[in-house]
Symmetry: C2
DNA sequence: ATCCAACTTGTCACCGGTGACATAGGTGGC
DNA sequence: GCCACCTATGTCACCGGTGACAAGTTGGAT
């Protein structure tokens, strides 16, 4: 509303002095400070952040670009980033990019045009090289998926290892036919989790059966249908590895409606009340809050110490959270069960 | 990176002409447009949004301020707002305010200082009158809770009606002692839901027992403990009404660990896989996506037609999503069950 | 040939806060 | 008494894109 010069006029000082009061400059007499503060209160002056950051050339806000804010994983990650940013007085500007990569560049550049100090982003397209010219002006940290075509920090979960452990866990419990359900290989995390799954299968000396891999479960209902289809196949799986929470949310009701709760489920990604389901799925917990915290910490570290040398890629370990149903004595061998 | 004047120099035109090309002005010859576009591509010019919006006085971005981004309810609402904003080419700047009201003003003013075109906010403090001077410059729509001390649009769910219906539903099934679990009455929605609960109790001719009302369940564990305490009381409830999802997430495991899954639960607020729990809680579905959509639509309507007269307060109806467990024959009367 | 209208491009001030620098009173040391 | 130095305040240009306005060009109608 009112500008700094209006405040200055009311307080009988120059604009610069108001600026000094706002920035808590040492060189302001108590008397003047009082007058200015009264004028600020009276006019309800709120500084124009745009003007300030425009002058100084860079906004101290940071941008966050993720596929979908309402995905609990990203929501939690953003929350963590925001908490750290707030502690530093940085605003956070969030944007959803969608999942198909088409809007990534436009969405991210809309953020960049605001002269942000930093960016936390999840790559959704196959090429982030368009960020190259920005790297000299700002810090960029990728989360959840590694970037392509550009050198920048990334903080991701150990998708391969997590999926491998999860699958191996099922193998240890006697399962020989384990299904893999995933959104789409376009999403790098899903591709990496499939790799981990394949690794475990190979390590167990099992043969890899593509029939057991169901992809393109990008919507809740698709995951549900794919699950039912898998179960109805001639040689059905005896356990399911769901590569994302989004899939798991479709798989669980499918197992229930098919009355096949005997088929254990491992979900890559924890979700609220997972442990209250009966049977409770085992989950691979890749703590989104932690990913967000690590990413934000790294971002500010880059901003504070532009030349410090740091390992670019951080891979956070994931926990396999076992559930009672999964931890009992190894299940009857898969093939037997499948025969029923 | 590069500025408009640099592009202009490279293309051999004036800055203004570059501006015209950027804004798709009619009055640019094809030949010049080509030259400028080539220069833009070569320099990878991305306009400085700050400069533009600073000059024009108002950013076409809108701000969203909610208690907690990672709360699925708000995450979904933001997602809806963002989708509508993106369709209009507006950026969305999100900020979490926390739940205690102390940072509301500072958090919101940090947004406002960016000269936003509009604001979607959830009141967390008891007074929003500080927004008064901004109303002439921007549109404000409150969601989830009505504002205090200021006249502005609001989009909220029918908390009273929803809670009343939910409670009445339990009464119809024979329950006489129904517990109410809530975060805190500081949160307006919780207070309104308690009101609805009390209404239903009164309408059923039951006496209101404060012992059955457990508040301050602001953390998951508190809700859990309060549930256990309620169940262990001398005259325990036979059904529970949980006023928020955050509470429900504590109540469900509490009921399970106390082996009292015979006690039906109604949760105000749906959550993923609620229907996959056994027993499945009945939920009051106050569609956050819808609230977000309605709020965003209203916001842009205000921006487009500042003088159009609209009803200020929108109260969206809520659905009671019944679950099998709740829909069977009315339960044995509460008192009998309680005696066991 | 003349004139008006539409088109094409350019000039310049301006948005509001702040950095660089100037100015002016005051204090203390020698 | 003079200079050095700190304190307190002011002046002014500048960040980069754009609105207001000017000026030059073209083409068709009169």
């Amino acid at each position: 509303m009112s500008t700094m010069r209006e405040v200055a006029a009311l307080a009988g000082v120059s604009g610069k002095t108001v600026s000094r009061v706002m920035r808590n400059d040492r060189y302001v007499s108590e008397e003047v400070r009082g007058r200015v503060e009264r004028a600020i209160a009276e006019l309800r002056y709120v500084p124009n952040v745009l003007a300030r950051t425009f002058r100084s050339g860079s906004d101290n806000a940071i941008g966050v670009a993720v596929p979908d804010i309402s995905d609990p994983f990203f929501a939690a990650a953003i929350h963590a980033v925001e908490a750290i940013a707030r502690a530093r007085g940085s605003a956070v500007i969030v944007t959803s990019l969608g999942d198909d990569g088409a809007h990534e560049r436009a969405g991210v550049e809309a953020l960049l045009g605001r002269q942000l100090a930093g960016l936390v982003s999840t790559p959704v397209s196959r090429d982030q090289s368009y960020l190259e010219p920005w790297l000299s002006r700002m810090a960029v940290v990728f989360i959840d998926r590694p970037p392509t075509g550009i050198k920048a920090d990334s903080v991701i979960a150990d998708d391969v290892g997590g999926a491998r452990n999860a699958t191996a866990h099922l193998v240890r419990h006697g399962h020989r036919r384990i299904a893999f359900i995933g959104d789409t290989l376009e999403i790098a995390t899903v591709a990496r989790r499939l790799k981990g799954y394949q690794k475990a299968i190979a390590e167990a000396g099992l043969s890899y059966d593509p029939q057991l891999v169901a992809l393109e479960a990008t919507q809740k209902n698709t995951a549900r249908e794919l699950t039912l289809k898998l179960l109805a196949a001639p040689d059905p799986p005896t356990a399911i590895f769901s590569s994302t929470v989004r899939c798991s949310i479709g798989v669980v009701p499918a197992l229930q409606s098919a009355d096949r709760t005997d088929v254990p489920l491992i979900s890559f990604g924890d979700f609220p009340l997972a442990m209250s389901l009966r049977p409770a799925p085992t989950v691979v917990d890749h703590d989104p809050g932690r990913i967000g915290r690590v990413a934000a910490t790294r971002l500010f570290e880059r901003l504070d110490h532009p030349r410090r040398r740091l390992k670019r890629h951080v891979v956070l370990p994931v926990d396999l959270v076992l559930q009672a149903a999964c931890c009992g004595p190894p299940a009857a061998t898969g093939t037997e069960l499948a025969a029923t």
